[in-house]
């Protein structure tokens, strides 16, 4: 295909790209319209100016700052804890090659693929019994286990190929196992660990089901749970709904832009290993 043909291909792909980002544009446009402007002009007109009251009202009504903080607290704790556990496990499985490692890996893999519905009610029951129901800590504990299952699976494969000579040299120099882990394995695997950290953060941020079950009060809910539950509330008119959607989109897109390079590299690492 030469001449006009190649422009036709480009045109088709650009049209598709516009369709893909169109909802983002429409949401952003309508989040900054006043209800009056919306009802007279409809959803497709460009906004006359920046009307931020809808966003401010929604922010205050749902205490969005608290939701952001809850999401951040849970995601940051889970990502750090899950990376630590993944490293410890992968050290034992990938480098230590403990006996029965294949079965342990299968266990972690199954744990990661299990539907959360098959754990949800007992977890809810146990959390209530332990006094952890409706606390961020409950979500942190459960999500750490689920993310660490994936991290262990991935990191064990990576550390399985760790150069043995370096570790042997360290052992000859008298380094113990913990020392080798902290001084050699962790620094050398830092790029993989940072990819995992970012992934765990974003996956936990985006999680909906378990936080929905555990977090019922206004003070503990995360961003996706609050938005998901409020959808369809009576006071949510057209502009306030788009304001709420925009507030959900902005942090996610911000993470994407900040971590984009690490992520696109990481998506493929995770898929092939």
């Amino acid at each position: 295909m030469r001449g006009p043909g190649r422009w036709a291909v480009l045109f088709a792909l650009v049209v598709l790209a516009v369709v893909m980002i169109f909802p983002f544009l429409v949401v952003a446009m309508n989040a900054v319209k006043s209800p009056a402007e919306y009802s007279s002009q409809g959803p497709l007109s460009l906004p006359d100016g920046l009307y931020l009251q809808g966003i401010v009202d929604f922010w205050n009504r749902v205490e969005f700052g608290t939701k952001l903080w809850n999401s951040f607290l849970i995601s940051a704790s889970v990502s750090v804890l899950a990376v630590v556990l993944s490293v410890l496990n992968a050290y034992a499985l990938g480098i230590g090659r403990v006996r029965g490692r294949l079965w342990i890996l299968v266990l972690f893999l199954v744990a990661n693929t299990l539907p959360q519905e098959a754990l949800a009610y007992p977890l809810y029951y146990l959390a209530k019994a332990a006094g952890l129901y409706d606390t961020q800590l409950a979500v942190i504990i459960v999500m750490t286990a689920i993310q660490a299952a994936f991290g262990t699976y991935l990191l064990s494969a990576v550390l399985g190929q760790f150069p043995k000579e370096i570790l042997e040299a360290a052992a000859i120099d008298g380094a113990g196992r913990l020392r080798s882990l902290l001084r050699i394995v962790v620094p050398i695997s830092r790029p993989t660990l940072s990819v995992l950290l970012i992934f765990f953060f974003i996956w936990t941020w985006n999680e909906f089901f378990l936080p929905l079950i555990f977090l019922i009060s206004n003070d503990t809910q995360t961003v996706p749970v609050a938005l998901g539950v409020l959808q369809g509330e009576k006071y949510m008119d057209a502009t306030m709904s788009s304001a709420s959607a925009l507030l959900g989109i902005v942090p996610a897109v911000a993470f994407f832009l900040i971590f984009q390079r690490t992520l696109t590299r990481g998506v493929t690492v995770g898929a092939i290993k």
Binding site: V27, L114, E117, L119, Y121, A148, I249, Q260, A271
Partner: protein, 287 residues
């Protein structure tokens, strides 16, 4: 050798304890509860396989699995097929003729929906599709209740999921294409093979592993789907978009049929485990 590896067990202890408490014990409790009648309070009453017998006759249960098949089409099959064409077009057509920057800008736009929490994607589309003020009806000049009409709801949810899912295969396949030796394409081009022929006979066989991983992960995601259903339709109207995960949630938390909900969740877990092992077996045999 055994002495050398023994000490490494210590490093597994924190995770094994956590796993026992958060995954193994709850899963076994769930299986146990599936053999009982229990409202969530009081003592569960043992009823053997009654819940499972009831499942087999429950139309809602079967319907929910049929909807799951639709969602596998929307979340795994269609995005994989479109993703293959898009990735190949971006990689060896746009990338070569308009520069890699154009290709990666387009890729980023296709990927954008994937970065959203799925619940937020649901909020966005719930708004876009709203029957009275939604943008979609305005654009198309229609007056349809996309999510409220039982004949349309499942198809609408499927379309939303294609939009949400598409970027993932595109990104994975484009990365996979970088492994393909350009010599194959050059040789085929000299032999006069068309773009479609090269796509079919060179590109697809070369990125088989990626296709496998995408199909597996997306199929599992489709079997587990909960967030979009919760936000967009709550399984309705009627049961038009009911899926097993939401059906079990309903039984757990709204109908206080914990035993029945546990049976649904157990069946779903078994299906997912079987699907995973089948995929891994086929993948092993292929390579």
């Amino acid at each position: 050798m055994r002495v050398r590896t023994r000490g490494y067990w210590l490093y597994l202890i924190p995770s094994l304890l956590l796993f026992a408490a958060v995954i193994v014990v709850p899963f076994l409790m769930n299986v146990g509860a599936s053999f009982t009648r229990w409202s969530g309070v009081g003592t569960p009453r043992w009823i053997g396989l009654d819940n499972y017998a009831r499942l087999l006759e429950d139309e809602r249960f079967w319907e929910s699995f049929q909807h799951n098949v639709g969602l596998i089409v929307a979340m795994a099959v269609v995005p994989t097929a479109i993703g293959l064409v898009l990735a190949a077009a971006l990689f060896d057509y746009i990338g070569k003729r308009f520069g890699p920057r154009t290709a990666s800008a387009l890729r980023a736009m296709y990927y954008l929906p994937q970065v959203l929490p799925v619940a937020v994607a649901g909020v966005v589309w719930g708004w876009m599709l709203h029957p009275s003020y939604g943008a979609v009806n305005q654009i198309l000049g229609l007056d349809l209740d996309w999510l409220g009409d039982p004949d349309l709801a499942l198809a609408t949810v499927m379309a939303v999921m294609v939009w949400f899912q598409l970027g993932y295969p595109v990104v994975i396949f484009m990365a996979g294409l970088q492994r393909v030796d350009p010599a194959y394409h050059e040789a085929a081009e000299i032999d006069g093979a068309s773009w479609w022929r090269r796509f079919w006979h060179i590109t697809i066989p070369q990125i088989r592993p990626e296709i496998f991983v995408v199909l597996l992960t997306c199929t599992i995601a489709a079997l587990k789907v909960f967030g979009p259903i919760f936000v967009l339709t709550r399984g309705g109207p009627g049961n038009a978009t009911m899926v097993p995960s939401y059906f079990s949630y309903l039984n757990f938390f709204q109908k206080s049929n914990v035993g029945y909900g546990s049976a649904i969740a157990t069946v779903l877990a078994l299906i997912i485990i079987v699907v995973t092992f089948l995929f891994l077996r086929v993948q092993e045999r292929e390579s």
